[in-house]
Amino acid sequence: MASSESVVRIRGVKKSFGANRVLDGVDLDVHKGEVVVVIGPSGSGKTTLLRCINLLETYDEGSIQVDGVEVGFRDGGGGVRKHRHDRELARIRADIGMVFQLFNLFPHLSARENVMLGLQKVRGRSATDAKKIAEQWLSRVGLGDKFDSLPGQLSGGQQQRVGIARAVAMDPKVLLLDEITSALDPELVGEVLTVVQELAKDGMTMIVVTHEMTFARDVSTRIVFMDGGQIQVQGTPREVLTATGHDRLKAFLARIEMKHH
């Protein structure tokens, strides 16, 4: 696919928390319709990378473009990069969906209202339209009977499906999934992953951070292995998961393997 089709284009991104460098020169292209799964040991920078893409974290160096727009900085004139204002960021973030490990649903709003909020306040939809879209998406993730439930009345798996509906209802250019099954009871993981698989089939562009290797293998078009703040290996699921040439990747996969036995 031509690089002009890159939905997300990351070049030389570096980021430090104090003296600790968490991203140390990351390059990554994600094309339309791709599902890129990022794996790696904890502390490898994968969640930070995800959070830099919609600027929940700022990055110090390099460039992240979503649909051709630099997310972290604006041109301050004379080649100077300046941080963007909240208003510009809001506009950019509206096109980047995110689903969180801890769901982060709005607890004072019903499932339907959680999905409607962005549609009304950001997309400017009428209440009637927003309601219709919200109900369509909630039905699609299997919550057709839970429109009026508050998050506190839903199971973890149901809450996470509302979280997914809230993100995709905005019709994002790319969807970021940050360990979305890590906080779930094992028997609830499947229902959430099924929804993601369906989105992938529909051609949703996704960047997924996960520890679920089976899911990574089944859903991804490409797997990226991160360690030490850098991308070490990337390729098709088969290439990466059966990699024998890379020691750190091998060690990581062996550790994961052990946990599951």
Binding site: N54, L56, D86, R87, L89, A90, R91, R93, A94, D95, I96, G97, M98, F100, L102, N104, L105, F106, P107, H108, L117, G118, K121, V122, L150, G152, Q153, R166, A167, M170
Partner: protein, 215 residues
């Protein structure tokens, strides 16, 4: 006893002054406290210390000293305020400091993920505050805020010390004429109690209304 009954309209007027001072202070301190409280939590770095110093300073000095300072000392700097304006300013400045802390506590009790989720659907700062943060924070804000309102009503009795005839001074003046202190003080205490008790019970009803989260 007849005197006491005849003095009721006078006491009534004093009560109205107490309520008037309290209401003004509640409105001003609520506006100021929310503005500065939001500023100290979400504002730029340069805004933090001025608000911090303001809050610590005004919570650290006795209210009476503040009232006397504004009424007696500001004229030395060419600022002459009537006694009524002085006490409203002093009480408002004092209560604002307390409400800053109440707002700060309420805002910081909301998990960070709420703000992040609101950001990711593209809400601007003001929208995140209005639609996501405030509706959740109000539950934490209400109980201590009602306490602050009760404190304001009680604290407003200090305005009698700069000669404003509020409920407190009205009672004292009636006592001065009738020489029957006990029933009048009891009556006065009762009036303060009725105001503040109705505030507290209103607060409990409000809290129940906002208790949407099962914990």
């Amino acid at each position: 006893m007849l005197f006491a009954i005849q003095s009721l309209p006078f006491l009534w007027h004093g009560l109205l002054v107490t309520l008037q001072v309290s209401a003004l202070v509640v409105v001003f301190s609520l506006a100021g406290g929310i503005l500065l409280g939001v500023g100290i939590v979400y504002g730029p770095r340069w805004l933090y210390w001025p608000i911090r110093i303001y809050s610590d300073f005004f919570r650290g000095i006795p209210l009476l000293v503040l009232i006397f300072f504004i009424y007696y000392a500001l004229p030395l700097f060419g600022i002459n305020l009537t006694s009524f304006v002085s006490v409203v300013v002093a009480l408002s400045a004092f209560e604002t400091a307390h409400i800053i802390e109440i707002v700060r506590g309420a805002l910081q009790s909301i998990p960070r993920g709420q703000n992040e989720a609101a950001k990711t659907i593209g809400l601007r700062f003001s929208q995140r505050l209005v639609y996501v943060i405030a509706p959740q924070a109000v539950r934490r804000f209400l109980p201590p805020w009602i306490n602050a309102v009760v404190d304001t009503v009680k604290g407003s009795a200090l305005v009698s010390l700069v000669g404003i005839v509020d409920l407190m001074l009205a009672i004292q003046q009636v006592i001065g004429r009738t020489y029957i202190p006990m029933p009048l003080y009891v009556l006065g205490a009762l009036m303060y109690f009725v105001i503040n008790y109705s505030l507290s019970s209103a607060s409990r009803r409000l809290e129940a209304r906002f208790a949407y989260i099962r914990e």
